[in-house]
Symmetry: C2
């Protein structure tokens, strides 16, 4: 059979297959033969196109992150004159869509999750290029919502409470689907979850803010 040699095609198929297999089994438990077997390329292809297994893994992380952020940027659905409440909603929704939205995004979510639990050295890259900016954005939104009477420490702990609710659905997905099989994480499910998180959080922020403005920063008994 006449097979036109297409280096870019092999490169692409290797990258996409590797993303799926790494997401399924993790870096250590994934073998090059698994990837090449599924991608239908020779075992030597990984070393020829990427150098070694670890370099392939780093390229995979960069690739899925770029795709995920292109599809669902943190400002997803926002307009220039959005309210702080709308910005919070967009932040939460885009986070969930980016990590759980569809099959490709779940690969990104799973790989990021794995890297957080078992850092392979690429975690610093993930923090510096993604997480730091993301959290800074959330700090800005929460700071605006809480107003000037609330100190920075409270803003930070509230931001952690909000992002915590989001990552729970990422990390807890295998458990949630086992305990509540009706939860399929469709886009409608994600819309609903986003609204619940925002509702819960805005109520919390309103309570904390009104207490601060009425009684100073002292916690009520």
């Amino acid at each position: 059979m006449i097979m036109k040699i297409d280096s870019a095609e092999t490169h692409r198929r290797l990258l996409e297959t590797a993303a799926i297999v790494f997401a399924e089994h993790g870096f250590a438990a994934t073998t090059i033969r698994m990837i090449c077997g599924r991608a239908k390329v020779n075992v030597a292809a990984v070393n020829y196109h990427f150098g070694n297994k670890e370099a392939l893994y780093r390229e995979v992380l960069r690739h899925v992150r770029r795709c995920a952020y292109e599809k669902y940027p943190p400002t997803y659905g926002l307009t220039a004159d959005s309210t702080p409440e709308e910005r919070l909603h967009a932040f939460v929704r885009s986070f969930l869509l980016r990590t759980l939205g569809d099959e490709q995004n779940r690969v990104f979510g799973t790989l990021t999750m794995r890297e957080m639990v078992e850092p392979t050295g690429a975690l610093d890259m993930i923090i510096e290029e993604g997480i730091r900016n993301l959290f800074g954005e959330l700090l800005g939104i929460v700071g605006t919502l809480l107003g000037a009477d609330v100190d920075a420490e409270t803003v930070e702990s509230c931001s952690r409470s909000i992002i915590g609710q989001c990552v729970f659905y990422l990390f807890g997905r295998p458990i949630i689907t086992r305990m509540s099989p009706e939860q399929k994480f469709t886009k409608d499910d994600i819309e609903k979850i986003s609204s619940e998180i925002v509702d819960f959080s805005l109520n919390a922020l309103n309570g904390i803010m009104s207490r601060a403005t009425r009684h100073g920063t002292r916690p009520s008994s």
Copy 2:
């Protein structure tokens, strides 16, 4: 019983060392030679005392879970006449202590975390023996706090928001320590985090409850 050589000592040292090494590297990346080297026992000891690597891993999971729950049960510090607010606080605090309290508990937290991200088959055991009861308890507390005017679905989503804040500090610990090196997760830190989570959550629950009792279950605005 007749103890020839000190078999129990080898068994114990193997179990404790394996817990640490599995927590550090994960199941797949941990080798039997790593464990035996650190435990200063022969490589054949694992197979002699536990059968194989996977059986050792399961025993490790059982062991660290038992130790963690013995040290910090979900009712940690509660009395018979505690208020729902105190029960929520005890729930949050005991969770954080159980998974982050000290070095031994962090091993439990890390292993559970790894099992959630990369189930090795022991996840079902973890859910049935631990998580299901734990979440049921939280549902009860939140249901009491919200009162009869709030539907079960809201109780569940609020419970997820609360447990989400807790697991964030477990899963996010490597990132938090990199971004905020002053956070050392001492017991004082955990007390503070617990109070922040409870404060945030009670404000949220109060807002949601008062809205429900005043305006029915319709969301405001």
